[in-house]
């Protein structure tokens, strides 16, 4: 495994009309490592994810995946496909991100056919391999999404994203909607896949406990700006920026009492939402 970063984001900026959604985001991601982008609604974290995967065009700044620039739109189909092979995304809601008329096996097979070709037999073997990786059996892979639970659907979505053999997987709140017991299963599956494949994750999340579990580095965004960036453990144990401190202090735990912290810590800086 080389030490060349698989993803380099520098000076990334996105403006919607007069609104600056993302301002000057910088980070590097090494193979097999994971980075978290933490923030609340409207912080710009999902916009960063969408720019990396190519669903939004950056206003300024560059995104380099596997040594190739992807901040401009792809020039042709081949380039678009090769970008798809490098970076994939798993969205939050497994109920709206899967085609309701296609089984998990068909969904994964479609991606394999488009990206890697091969005969049906080869693809079938690859589908079973991916199903095993995310912990789904053959019956579940052949069922339509409506017959699957949320956790099972999310595993299908992960299997589909992994089908292109990406170097970077973006997890946009991918475990947020899952029940606690299922969330733990999916987080373990994600950790296994990273160990086995050396894939890198960009985890977009508001859940600091999940961030701690899955990532080594984290950046905290507030209204489009990165207010703090560093190793995840340091950042959570010794938050420096008042906003990171506020986020950390808002997480319930033993001995926690809800307080009107927004006013106490930040005064008038954050408008009450």
């Amino acid at each position: 495994m080389s030490d060349e970063p698989v993803l380099v984001v520098s000076g990334l900026r996105k403006v919607f009309g007069a609104q600056v959604a993302v301002d000057d985001v910088n980070f590097e991601l090494l193979p097999g490592k994971s980075i978290a982008i933490v923030g609340e609604s409207g912080s710009g974290k999902t916009t960063v994810a969408r720019m990396i995967v190519g669903l939004e065009r950056p206003t300024a700044g560059t995104i380099t995946a596997c040594g190739r620039d992807r901040s401009k739109p792809a020039r042709n189909g081949a380039e678009r496909k090769s970008r798809g092979r490098e970076v994939q995304i798993v969205f939050q809601d497994p109920y709206s991100s899967l085609d309701p008329r296609m089984s998990g096996a068909a969904l994964v097979d479609e991606v394999l056919r488009v990206h890697h070709g091969g005969d049906p037999e080869q693809r079938g073997r690859r589908v079973s391999e991916l199903a095993g990786l995310v912990g789904l059996d053959e019956r579940q892979m052949n069922a339509l999404p409506r017959a699957l639970s949320g956790g099972q659907r999310q595993r299908v979505a992960i299997a589909r994203a992994l089908a292109t053999d990406p170097r970077v997987l973006i997890l946009d709140e991918s475990v947020a909607a899952l029940d606690v017991s299922i969330q733990a299963q999916v987080l373990n599956v994600l950790a296994d896949i990273r160990d086995q494949r050396g894939i890198s994750y960009v985890l977009i999340s508001h859940d600091l406990a999940v961030v701690r579990q899955l990532t080594e580095e984290a950046l905290v965004m507030q209204r489009g700006v990165v207010v703090e960036q560093g190793p995840t453990a340091d950042l959570l144990d010794h938050p420096k920026h008042p906003y990171t401190q506020l986020l950390r202090a808002s997480v319930p735990g033993p001995g926690w009492k809800p307080q009107r912290m927004r006013e106490r810590l930040l005064g008038a800086e954050v408008p009450a939402s």
Binding site: G151, A184, R212, L236
Partner: protein, 329 residues
């Protein structure tokens, strides 16, 4: 303490197409005046159905057995004006405020409606009381907010409007159904703080439904854990986290990642949460439980008193203190 609300052996079946499906099985629950009770469980465990049964908001065609007593009154027998009076005493705040407010009417109309129906006050008086209520939940410039439409308010603000509206009828029990789940964490802390203050000031009882065991532990006096339509454990919230009695409660605690440390591997619970109608006979958690024996699957588990709480597990006394969460799956 005398209990304000008593739920005894509540069993509910819903009509789905031509079938009756059981969603709650012999649920027992008691809330004292001024007490905050947490109701924790995963999807399909019956948390919301319990709240709906208490507020008499179950869908048409539901069959209900057992009893619900509120302040000495048999809730299941109420109708007409008595039922309206009951719903004024028991207010509900739901998860998604946008789904429970009429988007084409001003906040003023929305808040005043229940008040005018229930106590026949004038429009001006209703507005005045609504403005006071908004001020109480920490909303600045209430007169302006009352003239606005729901789309002009943020999620956190709208949820505070819902709480203010629920409190307008001066209820004695608040049913809060995942009411902070859709909010950002800092807004959640804020809304919880406001609810906590109001509740203590007014001596209000609360049934606080959440999937977040730690949040329930922080704001409630006692916590009920539900699984597959049954209550499996009721304990003081302060001890449930550190000394769970039911293997499922222990597994829920351990499955959650810890914000203070990184685990090599999370202790996930194998399988998926079940609904009451698909649960096996005997102990409903047995297929996912690391401690189950033949006895667990062959016998209905009884509702036992133990360590100042109640638990539905025959092995609870023997296992206490040794429970580890699920397996490394």
């Amino acid at each position: 303490m005398t209990s304000l609300l008593q739920v005894r052996d509540l069993t509910v079946q819903l009509k789905i197409g031509a079938d009756l499906r059981e969603v709650l099985t012999t649920v027992n629950l008691e809330i004292a005046a001024g007490e905050a009770m947490g109701l924790v469980g995963e999807s399909g465990s019956g948390k919301s159905m319990t709240a709906k049964a208490i507020a008499r908001l179950l869908p048409d065609g539901a069959t209900v057995s057992g009893s619900i007593t509120f302040d000495g009154v048999d809730v299941l027998a109420l109708s007409g004006a008595d039922l309206r009076a009951h719903r004024a005493q028991v207010a509900v705040v739901f998860q998604d405020p946008r789904a429970h407010i009429n988007p084409v009417r001003r906040i003023d109309d929305f808040m005043g409606e229940s008040l005018r129906i229930l106590s026949d006050v004038s429009k001006e008086e209703a507005s005045r009381r609504a403005a006071d209520a908004l001020e109480e939940v920490g909303i600045d410039n209430p007169a302006k907010r009352l003239r606005q439409y729901p789309h002009e308010l943020s999620g956190g603000m709208l949820q505070r409007v819902m709480i203010a509206t629920a409190l307008l009828s001066e209820p004695r029990l608040l049913l809060a159904d995942e009411c902070t789940t859709a909010l950002d964490v800092t807004t959640q802390a804020e809304v919880m703080a406001i609810m906590d203050e109001l509740r203590r000031d007014r001596g209000l009882s609360m049934l606080f439904i959440t999937h977040d065991l730690e949040l329930a532990g922080a704001v409630c006096d006692r916590t009920c854990v539900m699984y597959a339509g049954q209550v499996v454990e009721t304990r003081a919230a302060s001890v449930l986290h550190g000394d769970p009695l039911h293997p499922y409660s222990a597994a829920l605690v351990d499955a959650r990642p810890d914000i203070n440390s990184t685990a090599d591997r999370l202790l996930a619970i194998p399988g998926r949460p079940l609904s009451a109608f698909e649960a096996p006979s005997g102990c409903r958690f047995a297929p996912r439980c690391g401690y189950s024996t033949d006895d667990c699957t062959s016998h209905e588990q009884e509702w036992l008193e133990l360590a100042g709480g109640q638990v539905r597990c025959g092995r609870a006394a023997e296992l206490r203190g040794t429970l580890r969460g699920g397996a490394h799956v």
